[in-house]
Symmetry: C2
Subunit: 604 residues, 2 copies
């Protein structure tokens, strides 16, 4: 089993570790210290060695921050994580506050004492975030001070897990679709056009994409912790722990790439003196900006140049994604068959659901990892958006309720992410009606055509309008970008209520995952991945339009669809999708599963 059901932290973490951190703070003369969730690479998912926020507080969510003053402390989480934070953290010790409503800056401004010195680790904060902290501290009459040694790291000491050293291996051209040298030369020209001599790249996914390599330093995504400098002539320097360098790697990287240990990075930055260097203030921490400034480099603030080409998958990557989704769809369909037959009878626990799904994926022989820990939420657990089953929390399936399963896989040819919600026994009328509203939104976002320049923010409403018309909504984004055997959450595109100015472009993969959650009752989410394509010319149309090709292939539970709530267009769309599932997945599964697919994929 790849997934485990233990809990990595307890509320005792904060009780035991906060005093140690305060001792280390006092030794440095600090009255406070800011602990962000992000690490040196601004990663969302962290290696255990970098999960400082969890060690300090007990909170394991994927976003947050804490402030430790000498006399009080607060943990900041967004609305998704409020319940989880109260469960994982000692609230006597940490006040739980809203990350969004003013967040850390408002707390510093209101609670820091005049004359206080508040430390921060410049390797962990983006320059933009830091600017807000600095201004807030100043308004409180306090000053913000970078630390040379992180007092949390000092307190953690020997108990801290070692930095990961997973092997970094070539990612073959059969999957990447473009030689690294071609990417580097293409992006190098772009740098020259911007007047830059070089770009500093500190995001592991960017390094992996640029050099066509994959690593394993971060669980659930094949990321190599590393940094690189890309020169405008297409040559590059790659800073990688020698312990991770596999024998074939140097030849794979070729002559244009100098492979160096991480310790060589500071000197390499010094060598950028008087050169114009592009750095992304949203992706690279303040430490890099300060190091380049001290070196006398001329910093250009701008987006990491790999982000947009990485998001727009090439033809080989898209074909890989199709293959990965057929493989994954067969495993998922076998799993759904098991749920509909055995599990609906035996009503196992969520843990068994997770184990069986992993087993079907493992049986493909191609599974490299899960793309995230499977969420299997039975009945009321399904209503907790960021639920993950553990020994302590898991429920058994309940007859007359729903099971929500959100899962994904990492394959060499693609990353998957899919949610299906199924009825266990007979669902209530309300469950089916609300499922159908979610489905109507999902279908609208799957079939939409839109002109170039349209953002995910503009499309988000299509997925919500059917729920809105019934006085309902859901409190998470509708879609996120997905990498190609990389991170399962990848920007810059996003389908969300939040303003986003990045237009959707052909080759971008996004999830389409509206939902509905009845607190204490049940949860519904329907999620497919879809890739932006140039839509086929429309008879009588005057303007080229973009559209989506749905990648995910697995049946949607017809027992939950109130057919009379669908328009003729929606019904035809649903039937066409199910026909495609049967046609493509049917030949890939066991006869019993195929027979079941024939039944559940019939026209509505």
């Amino acid at each position: 089993m790849r997934q485990t059901f233990d809990e990595a932290t307890t509320p005792a973490f904060g009780r035991e570790h906060a005093p140690l951190i305060r001792q280390a703070m006092a030794a440095q003369g600090l009255d406070g210290f800011v602990i962000p969730h992000e690490d040196e690479h601004q990663n969302e998912y962290l290696p255990a060695a970098n999960d400082r926020l969890a060690w300090a507080t007990g909170f394991t969510g994927s976003a947050g921050a804490a402030v430790l003053f000498k006399d009080k402390a607060a943990l900041f989480v967004d609305g998704r994580y409020t319940l989880q934070a109260r469960d994982q953290v000692d609230t006597q010790l940490f006040e739980i506050r809203d990350l969004m409503d003013g967040g850390v800056p408002a707390y510093l401004q209101a609670e820091a004492g005049t004359g206080w010195t508040i430390g921060y680790d410049p390797r962990l904060h983006s320059p933009e975030a830091l600017e807000r902290l600095r201004a807030a501290a100043a308004r409180a009459g306090a000053q913000l001070k970078p630390v040379a040694t992180n007092p949390l790291d000092a307190a953690w000491g020997k108990a801290r897990p070692p930095q990961p050293r997973a092997a970094v291996v070539p990612h073959p051209i059969a999957f990447s679709g473009e030689e690294s040298v071609s990417k580097r030369e293409r992006l190098g020209e772009g740098l020259a056009d911007q007047g830059a001599d070089a770009a500093l790249i500190t995001t592991p996914a960017s390094v992996a994409w640029l050099f066509n390599v994959r690593g394993g330093d971060v669980i659930r995504s094949p990321l190599p912790l590393s940094q690189a400098i890309l020169n405008a002539d297409g040559t590059a320097r790659l800073f990688l722990d020698p312990a991770k360098v596999t024998p074939e790697l140097p030849a794979w990287l070729g002559n244009g790439v100098r492979l160096e240990p991480p310790e060589a990075l500071p000197e390499a930055l010094n060598e950028l003196k008087e050169r114009r260097v592009l750095v992304d203030p949203a992706a690279s921490s303040a430490w890099y900006f300060e190091a380049l400034r001290a070196a006398g480099a001329d910093v250009i603030r701008g987006p990491d140049p790999t982000v947009l080409p990485r998001a727009c998958k090439n033809a080989v990557e898209i074909e890989g994604a199709r293959h990965a989704h057929v493989r994954d769809g067969a495993a998922l369909s076998s799993f759904l068959h098991w749920v509909a037959t055995e599990a609906a009878e035996s009503l196992p626990s969520e843990l068994e659901v997770v184990r069986r799904l992993e087993g079907f994926r493992e049986a493909t022989g191609a599974l490299k990892d899960l793309s995230f820990d499977t969420i299997a939420g039975a009945a009321s657990n399904g209503a907790i958006v960021h639920y993950r089953p553990t020994e302590r929390l898991a429920k058994r399936l309940e007859r007359g309720s729903l099971l929500l399963v959100d899962s994904g896989a990492q394959y060499l040819d693609g990353t998957t992410d899919v949610t299906r919600t199924v009825a266990i026994g007979a669902p209530s009328r309300e469950m089916a009606e609300r499922f159908t509203l979610v489905l109507k939104g999902h279908l609208a976002l799957a079939r939409v055509r839109f002109p170039a320049g349209t953002t995910g923010s503009a499309l988000d409403t299509l997925a919500r309008a059917p729920l809105w018309s019934h006085g309902l909504d859901f409190d998470h984004g509708t879609g996120h970008g997905v990498g190609s055997y990389l991170g399962v959450h990848e920007g810059p595109q996003r389908i969300s209520k939040l303003p986003n100015t990045v237009a959707l472009r052909p080759g971008m993969i996004v999830s389409n995952e509206p939902g509905y959650y009845k607190e204490g009752g049940y949860g519904i989410r329907i999620e497919n991945l879809q890739v932006v394509t140039a839509a086929a010319p429309i008879p009588g149309g005057e303007r080229p339009m973009l559209g989506f090709e749905t990648l995910t292939l697995a049946p949607i539970d017809r027992n939950l669809i109130v057919v009379e709530m669908l328009t003729a267009e929606e019904r035809a769309q649903m039937d066409a999708y199910h026909a495609r599932v049967l046609e493509v997945i049917g030949p890939k599964v066991e006869p019993a599963v195929r027979a079941w697919l024939e039944k559940v994929c019939k026209p509505l």
Copy 2:
């Protein structure tokens, strides 16, 4: 007749006036001069005395700018106005450039000579716009210099029309719904909360709303050119030409308002020394910021405090809008009856269409003004989005084509804006299909329910998706805010592809006006005004939702609706709207018109 059909300018304007401006520039040692469309009040619609861009170039559109160098010149307009600019301006003299694609700053950077001095009138530019111009000039090695005397004004000299001096009159509480003193005290408290001692207000619509007065300095909107200083204690100073002050005005304004001539403003700004003054950098020109800085005031940049309360109409204003729309709907229905009967036979010119519509509105006895010049576009003229009929351009109606009429009225109780597109004779199948697609978008935006916090940008897609699905779109916004007997274009809300972070709030009036334009063929637009309301609780709903109440009442041409393209929901919505038109407007019109309404408002 209020509307005229002459053309105020010709391409000769530029040929004759540009040399005079260049002489005045040379006398001040300027190598270039920037001429924005906006005036001292950042007005969209201008009094003739302030329409400098039209005098300098011949271009009369509602947005644009020109740059006059000593040896060349360019006019900048957006895509809506490219054709009009080529028609109105001597293109030998003025290169026509895109206002959006880099605009004036890019031109300055590329074309200004090293060492040049480029003048600007600080009364006409917002500080934000100026910052961009300054940076661009610097990159060209040129410098930007404020002028004490505008060389264009100097060149214009005696030929320049006098500043308007229309009477400023009380706007009764029966229409405004809130006493000025209440507005001033409420907003004054808001200023205090922001830490401001006062706000400087330079937008005529804001002054009109705050003091419950109306003027007539700008055609088609009852605006008094004026400025005010609102103090945190609710008292105010109002700077108004004494020639505009009507006898009843001082008593109407009351003791809390000091009425002063415009010449007193500079000294009043000086008196703000060391006080914290809120000024809107999007609404007030750089001159005010510079004057306050020189006076030693502490300027707080933030939105004009009247903008949001002015946009959110109170119950009296909403009731007034309903009355205005019944009155206007009766006039419009009488006009549409005339089009369907007499005009469809006699095929008059667009000018006659405009005259008749104005006649029906004049006959209400309540018309204060049009809210903008009526657009009556027959056949291919309908495809020109910013078309206005003139003697030179007007066409006669054509059988087998469409007539697009976009018009509105100013009444004491409300401002209207409505577009109807009608078939003259039998329309083609294509016309009807495209009309029906536009209608589907219009209906979606009329019936949508949405949670608090939703912006117009999020709703825009609903109006376009039916067109997109057929490879079609339109190149203008879907909706704009509308004032209460004030401007027909009023922010801050907007329904548009462009990102807008202002949430729609109860009481905001917006237009809903999707369209389709076939160049050289015909134009379609369907426009109603609608007010944001707290939607009635939805059975089974869990969250409060907002919605729209449609204000505009006039039939939509059933001859252009392809019924089988509508869903059952859309058809019921259309039938309910027509039933309401018949019920409310039927009793207000002549028997012949009522009989016609009974026919055209029947269920589809």
